[in-house]
């Protein structure tokens, strides 16, 4: 479903080039949930942004359901739902419903379909009470629920979550985890980044560890536990960073 091949991304910072991703290759199968682990600044968000067509790789290719993210970005976007971290990207002066309706129209959903989807998602996330209130007065948890609803509003095949539970309370985090389980049951392909290893253990079929722009590990949790002779993912993560040359690990 997702084929990432030798992707490198460089940014120009003043006069220097900074390499955020170095020859990253990763394949994700349909219906698979994969967790991206890495420290802040490791390159997780850059990888997700590249997959989401938001930025173009400096070299290498990414294919989503057979479509190239650079050459066929419109086709890719139709199949993707993306949520970047704590930045919910909602319009404060619009109500939750208006926000959802607006994005539904951008994804080309019809009026009836939009109404049905919004009702379904409102029920799923318990948003009915505040669906017609302006977002400006919402708590962080309420905003995040609306943002997640917006992400899956058009029923995408592939969903990317970038640290989706950052700043959420326990209840909202649990709602998110239940959602991932449900989406997995529906056969969706999910990549989500996190630095909370317990979350990854609970939700993912496979993990990919990124350190300083390089993919240092990719595989199933079982294989990882076997290789490292430990089931403590925190410990494994730290040891991988040491192998990757992190002097502070």
């Amino acid at each position: 479903m997702i084929q990432i091949h030798e992707v490198t991304k460089q940014f120009k910072d003043k006069k220097k080039y900074v390499t955020a991703l170095k020859h990253v290759s990763l394949n994700v199968q349909e219906g698979e949930v994969i967790g991206l682990l890495g420290e802040n600044g490791a390159g997780k968000t850059t990888l997700l942004r590249s997959i989401s067509t938001l930025i173009e790789p400096s070299s290498g290719t990414i294919h989503i359901a057979g479509y190239d993210t650079v050459q066929q970005s419109a086709e890719v976007k139709k199949r993707l739902g993306v949520l970047f971290g704590s930045e919910t990207g909602l319009y404060d002066r619009l109500t939750a419903r208006e926000n959802l309706e607006y994005f539904a129209s951008l994804y080309g959903l019809g009026k009836h379909e939009t109404k049905v989807r919004i009702e379904k998602l409102a029920k799923m996330f318990g948003m009915r009470d505040y669906l017609d209130r302006r977002v400006s007065g919402f708590s962080k948890g309420m905003r995040q629920k609306v943002a997640i609803a917006r992400t899956i509003l058009h029923d995408p095949e592939i969903i990317l979550f970038d640290e989706p539970t950052t700043g959420l309370d326990i209840t909202s985090s649990n709602v998110f985890r239940q959602l991932v389980h449900q989406l997995k049951r529906e056969g969706k392909t999910i990549i989500f980044s996190s630095h909370i290893v317990e979350e990854v253990t609970l939700l993912c079929d496979r993990v990919a560890m990124i350190h300083q722009g390089e993919l240092v590990y990719e595989g199933t949790l079982e294989k990882l536990y076997e290789e490292e002779a430990s089931t403590d993912l925190n410990y494994i993560f730290m040891s991988k960073l040491v192998q990757g040359g992190n002097e502070y690990a």
Binding site: G89, L94, E98, Y102, F103, L106
Partner: protein, 385 residues
């Protein structure tokens, strides 16, 4: 694109800053200026100015200014203090033997004490000077008659000014004032929306959510630009409506200066088109600053000088007469707003000038939009750091 436009308009018009600057600001700005200029241009025939003079000269000065009902004379031995304390706007000091010196053919000194920072004081001084000049001419005539010389020798010819362009001072003032306020109001009115629609979206990260939808960036930018044009045009139309309503119902001098006659409807339509073309330029320019900025604050810093850009041609155009207008004045964007409105307020509807103005504004707007679009297609300018 229509969905984006509808949402952008709804979002922008729910913003208190936009509403404040689109409706309330033109109302306050225009009202203040119209009443200020109405007062400035109104004849001050009904005003009475308090003048002070020392007791000994009261009768003589009273006799000299008796014909002028706008001057009221009173006695105060400390003239300077009386003016400083606001008891009078001007004072007159004459030598104690003023009349004797005149009879002897001497040149006595007449001092008018005033405060040149006060408009009333200056107007009163002018009236006092006129009264004394009149008295001076009477004395000159008497002296010439004594020497058997006819007073007509002092006026070998007469001078007459003939105004060849229709319209009085008040009309000229309106023709300058209205486009100036209009351009400033449009610039200020569009600012919140322009900064919010692009720089604001980058700052709030809503831009990323938008860019991940299948809508292409050109449609996105066009809808945002169109929103800016609509809001700017709304500000312009509201501004112009306020000007005309207030002049029509709350002024006399300015109202007397305006007479569009049969041209009222064509002038209204042309005004609307000119406003839209100017709004298009401002929308493109402020859209560009919003693309270049990473935050709303940065966009505001870049945009403020642009909103005030109209001040420059306004200062230049104030001294340009109707007969001095050339095609250049109608071709240069922003400046052409002043030239076209100058013509319109004098009741002139020149199709060629109007077409040049609108076409020039739209072409410049399009060029800026195209440059903005090129930038908008690059990730560097649309994604927050």
């Amino acid at each position: 694109m229509l969905n984006i436009l509808k949402k952008e308009l709804k979002d922008s018009l729910r913003d208190r800053r936009t509403l404040l600057l689109t409706v309330l600001l033109p109302l306050i700005l225009m009202s203040a200026l119209i009443f200020f200029y109405e007062n400035l241009l109104s004849s001050h025939e009904e005003e009475t100015y308090e003048i002070v003079v020392q007791d000994a000269q009261f009768n003589l000065v009273q006799k000299l200014i008796a014909q002028n009902e706008n001057l009221h004379l009173s006695v105060n031995d400390n003239i300077k203090e009386a003016i400083e304390e606001g008891k009078a706007v001007a004072g007159i000091i004459l030598p104690s033997d003023f009349e004797k010196q005149l009879l002897d053919g001497a040149t006595p000194l007449v001092q008018i004490l005033n405060d040149t920072y006060s408009q009333n004081s200056v107007l009163a001084t002018n009236l006092i000077e006129a009264a004394f000049m009149q008295y001076s001419q009477v004395i000159v005539k008497e002296r010439l008659a004594k020497n058997n010389v006819d007073s007509s020798v002092l006026t070998p010819f007469t001078l007459e000014q003939v105004q060849i362009v229709e319209g009085d001072d008040s009309m000229m003032m309106i023709a300058f004032l209205v486009p100036l306020m209009l351009t400033i109001a449009v610039g200020i009115g569009i600012s919140p929306a322009a900064t919010d629609l692009i720089a604001g979206e980058k700052e709030r990260r809503t831009m990323e959510a938008l860019l991940m939808t299948p809508v292409n960036r050109s449609s996105l930018l066009s809808a945002k630009w169109l929103t800016m044009v609509i809001i700017a045009s709304m500000t312009g139309i509201i501004t112009l409506a306020i000007v005309f309503v207030e002049i029509q119902f709350f002024t006399e001098t300015l109202k007397a200066g305006i007479s569009f006659g049969n041209n009222a409807i064509p002038i209204a339509i042309v005004s609307l088109l000119v406003i839209i073309s100017y709004s298009a330029i401002m929308a493109s320019a402020l859209m560009m600053t919003s693309i270049l900025a990473k935050t709303v604050k940065e966009a505001q810093s870049y945009g403020t000088p642009i909103t005030m850009i109209a001040m420059l041609p306004a200062m230049y155009m104030i001294n340009v007469g109707m007969n001095e207008l050339t095609y250049t004045h109608f071709t240069v964007p922003v400046m052409n707003i002043f030239t076209v409105f100058k013509e319109l307020f004098l009741g002139i509807v020149n199709a060629e000038h109007i077409i040049i103005t609108i076409a020039s504004n739209l072409i410049v707007s399009l060029v800026i939009f195209i440059i903005g679009r090129i930038l908008f297609l690059k990730d560097k300018w649309v994604l927050a750091k």
